[in-house]
């Protein structure tokens, strides 16, 4: 059970293109609640990594799953993706809660990297897991945009004829990749659903620079004993970005500029955000 993240990353991609892209809410999500063993506790997740996508969530989940008091971190249940127009029923919420059985005294978590970007999802998560602690991983948004574009490229050959015709895969990928990096509004959606003291906002760059130090902070936030993960796991947990399509210099400059105000707005919401870690916005840190 510890290796559920690794299993997720290795599993063959057999979903339909729309489902693989997280688009098809009609697809059954991988949330068949496992049978709890005798004496286990069935409860909502203790913590959820709610995004952002392509901002180090997988690495964080892998490292947290290695903690001796963490039973597992379930990846990408996509529990709320389908509820964009209807509210989840009590059985839906109950099914979600039953997805996290764990031995008594252990914690269970979820990696749900799209949650913060779906305007309807944070409140549903709060309804189902009102005591959960929320981990938000952010990353230089212009860099994250390129990582998102690169990740989506692997679906291009599978993409069906899209709404506007064959070229619209690019249109859609550009749109989606951009909107996922507009953090300020997403932070407000999460704060609207969870109290501030149960939200921890993190930066991928800080995790990459000193994973042990960041893990220590997160473990304290989650109420876990301090535990240093195995060095080989720390090194092996690095996730590499897929290569992004080549973009013109004007477009890259425009993307940097377009995110600038969102970064400024984010700094007012998250005063301890270290913008000096974001290569495209270091001037904001210098400006004070």
């Amino acid at each position: 059970m510890k290796l559920s993240i690794a299993r997720f990353l290795r599993r063959p991609r057999v979903m339909s293109p729309d489902a693989a892209l997280g688009l098809d809410p009609g697809e059954p999500y991988d949330a068949s609640p496992p049978e709890p063993r005798p004496g286990w506790v069935v409860a909502p997740p203790d913590f959820v990594i709610v995004g952002a996508q392509d901002a180090g969530g997988e690495r964080l989940a892998t490292l947290l799953a290695a903690h001796p008091s963490v039973h597992e971190v379930r990846p990408e249940l996509r529990a709320w993706e389908r509820f964009f127009e209807t509210w989840p029923s009590d059985p839906d919420i109950d099914r979600y809660r039953r997805c996290f059985p764990r031995p008594a005294g252990q914690q269970s978590g979820e990696l749900a990297a799209t949650t913060m970007s779906l305007f309807w999802a944070p409140r549903m998560l709060a309804t189902a897991a009102p005591q959960a602690r929320i981990l938000m991983m952010l990353r230089d948004p212009a860099t994250r945009y390129l990582a998102g574009r690169g990740r989506l490229e692997r679906y291009r050959p599978q993409a069906p004829h899209w709404h506007y015709g064959p070229r619209s895969f690019t249109h859609w990928a550009a749109d989606r990749s951009f909107s996922r990096g507009e953090y300020a509004l997403q932070v407000q959606w999460i704060r609207d659903a969870f109290p501030d003291d149960r939200i921890m906002i993190l930066q991928q760059e800080a995790l990459d620079a000193d994973p042990v130090a960041m893990l220590a902070r997160i473990q304290a936030f989650l109420g876990l004993d301090s535990a240093v993960p195995d060095a080989a796991l720390v090194a092996g947990s690095v996730t590499l970005d897929a290569p992004a399509p080549e973009l013109e210099p004007q477009r890259l400059a425009a993307i940097r500029d377009l995110y600038r105000h969102d970064v400024q707005r984010l700094r007012t919401l998250v005063p301890d955000l270290d913008v000096s870690l974001w290569p495209n916005y270091q001037d904001e840190a210098q400006a004070g």
């Binding site: 729309d18 809410p25 127009e85 209807t86 550009a174 749109d175 500029d257």
Partner: protein, 273 residues
């Protein structure tokens, strides 16, 4: 009918040669959004003014959406030149473009500034929850053809929901426009005011465009456009509350950008007035 067939594809259409003596320039103004905020009606009323040339469009709503398709390549000088050739006008007249998705496609504002560097932008906004419902309803026109192309009906609904939400993020989009245009060249008007006081709001628009006062005929003012032909879509009351809550930070940010925004006209945000 698909979205692609509804509008003119600027990559395929060559502007007609203008009559002798006409002037080719970038558009003097652009109605840049937002969709489902009365932009079609407003543009038609603006071109009633005798100094505004009614630009011929080959078909449909007259929306070029010229820059919408530049999501994968930056417009060249030739592209920009061709954009200009869509706006011939007699000497002394001004011409405008109407492209309600210009403000919601993040790549467009910078391109629009390249194509129309001196343009004045008109932006219509509307209670974002009501706009969401209107947009969501409007999207139903394309459900059958989209599902016919292989998407599931549920996937189409989700696409419609996320797109309908994104088009109501006015503050974010205003900031995008402001990366390319100075704030004083953007006039924000409220759909609700344009319905309640079209003559007064048109006067503001004409003054903003630097042209003389003018009052269109009552018939033109009363003409209905884009009447809904499909059943109105509604959402679960809890989802409506989620929409209110999700849009709230955007509405508050918009008020900072548009101090005279009258939130008492927006039923879902009247408590902020």
């Amino acid at each position: 009918m698909t979205i692609a067939s509804r509008t003119v594809d600027p990559r395929k259409v060559e502007p007609a040669p203008p009559p002798d003596g006409w002037v080719i320039r970038p558009p003097d103004f652009v109605v840049a959004g937002a969709p489902k905020c009365g932009t079609t009606r407003w543009f038609r009323l603006l071109v009633e003014h005798p100094d505004v040339h009614r630009t011929h469009r080959p078909r449909g709503s007259g929306e070029l959406h010229f820059f919408d398709d530049f999501y994968d390549h930056w417009p060249t000088a030739e592209d920009i030149d061709r954009y200009h050739r869509f706006f011939p006008r007699p000497p002394g007249a001004i011409a405008g473009d109407k492209a309600p998705t210009d403000m919601s496609n993040h790549w467009v504002p910078r391109m629009l500034a390249d194509g129309a560097p001196d343009a004045r932008l008109l932006v219509l906004v509307r209670d974002p929850v009501e706009r969401f419902m209107s947009s969501r309803t409007f999207s139903e026109n394309w459900r059958d053809v989209t599902v016919g192309r292989g998407r599931t009906s549920a996937t189409f609904s989700r696409f419609a929901v996320t797109r309908s939400f994104a088009h109501g993020q006015y503050a974010t989009q205003m900031r995008w426009l402001m990366t390319a245009f100075p704030r004083d060249r953007i006039l924000v008007q409220q759909f609700e005011r344009c319905i309640a006081d079209p003559i007064g709001q048109l006067a503001d628009a004409f003054a903003f465009l630097g042209i003389s006062p003018f009052q269109p005929s009552q018939e033109a003012i009363d003409r209905r456009v884009n009447a809904t032909k499909v059943s109105r879509v509604d959402v679960d009351p809890r989802h409506r509350e989620v929409l209110r809550s999700a849009f709230r930070p955007e509405v508050m940010a918009l008020r900072e950008l548009v101090p005279d925004l009258d939130l008492s006209l927006w039923p879902n945000f009247a408590d902020l007035a």
